[in-house]
């Protein structure tokens, strides 16, 4: 009987200390779940950049705040990158441009402008193809494998990062549904 009492006392002590620790380690008011400096990781702000499209227009990521952004890093010589582009095109057609923007950043430093343009034309891609000619964005987004896709929420936070491909169309649609649903 005595050892049962000791066990009960021990259990209650453990639970009280744990509860105290949970309270002590709670987030202070005003703290958010994500960190407010840019790193190419889910939970962080997407690093900003400015690149030009195949048509010569300038696009800055920061200007797209308020919209969901799919940032896809690709090269024309990479088979999974080529395979997933039609799915990206279909998804882009299903959403108005003020809700979803797809940016396909061609790692031109490892590819060529001509090959990127030819691929875009062959596949009738209507979303902006950005040219990363100096490799800055590839380095900024720590691209370890191609393709790499980032899902960026309207507040500029990266919500999901998919390394490798081809990415499933259902996954693209599910992520976009979730992110655009948050804005509505």
């Amino acid at each position: 009987m005595r050892s049962r009492r000791i066990y009960t006392f021990f259990s209650l002590t453990v639970l009280m200390i744990s509860a105290g620790w949970i309270f002590f380690s709670r987030a202070l008011p005003g703290a958010s779940g994500s960190e407010d400096f840019p790193i190419a990781r889910p939970g962080f702000l997407a690093p900003d950049f400015t690149l030009t499209t195949l048509q010569g227009e300038s696009v800055q990521l920061k200007d797209l705040r308020g919209r969901t952004v799919i940032l896809n890093l690709w090269a024309s010589w990479c088979p999974p990158c080529r395979a997933e582009m039609p799915a990206l095109q279909r998804v882009s057609q299903d959403y108005p441009p003020d809700e979803l923007v797809i940016l396909a950043v061609n790692l031109t430093s490892q590819d060529s402008r001509e090959a990127a343009a030819q691929f875009a034309q062959e596949n009738n891609l209507t979303f902006p193809i950005l040219l990363d000619e100096s490799g800055v964005v590839g380095a900024l987004y720590q691209t370890s494998a191609l393709p790499t896709t980032f899902f960026i929420a309207s507040d500029g936070t990266i919500r999901e990062m998919i390394v490798g491909g081809p990415i499933s169309e259902a996954l693209l649609r599910a992520q976009v549904n979730q992110l655009t649903g948050e804005v509505r």
């Binding site: 009960t8 259990s11 380690s25 960190e35």
Partner: protein, 252 residues
Amino acid sequence: MLPILHIGPLAVQTPGLLLLLGLWFGLELAERHAVMKKQEPGKLYNLVLISLIAGILVARLGYAAQYPVAFLKSPLGLFSLSPQMLNPEAGLLAAIITCLIYIQRSKLPHWPTLDLLTSLLAVLAVAQGLAHLASGQAYGTPSDLPWSIELFGALRHPTQVYEILIALIILAVVWPAQVNPLEKRIYAQPGVRLLLFLGLSAAARIFLEAFRGDSLFMLGGLRQAQIIAWLVLALCLWQLGKRLSPRETPGD
């Protein structure tokens, strides 16, 4: 951090590879444990395999149910290999239910079989820590302690290392061997090994979650994972008390 392992032209996801290795090693250990306890290792292997398949299937269906429009437009997505398209909670629940049904239908002893699975779960916990270390997931909060590590633009608590160390300690505690001092003292009682593993893991999560930078918060700034872990801990302590006390009563 090594999220991708390049082997020739292949880019292998290191976290997935580590979890698979953990599953293999954990199953080996669980089967050895089954032999030690004079139970059929083949049935244990089937139990794990069937529960795993059921868990993965339901996790995928659970994800599809969350986004029905996406899957109606692209139904082939159901068969995609993408690990992001899983609902872990639904999968875990399905795996547990399948495991219990299999135990019941195969007429396996309930708690002793669950005790055998503890070896697998304890190894998987270590593998999960290693997978977190490889991917950078479960990263720590910024810190200026001497052992902080540079990660994602800041010096941070090496939470993945803490996770691996604690999981290794728990694995040592539940390790199935005659040299383990707890083997004859308390593990003879069915269910104690599993409950002790779950209780220790829950306590570890309550402690470690405080240092994590990717916690999900609830009302009042409380961390969701800590609340769930506290409830699991309470349940384990209660069940452990029930299981251990009948043995001690005669001696009192």
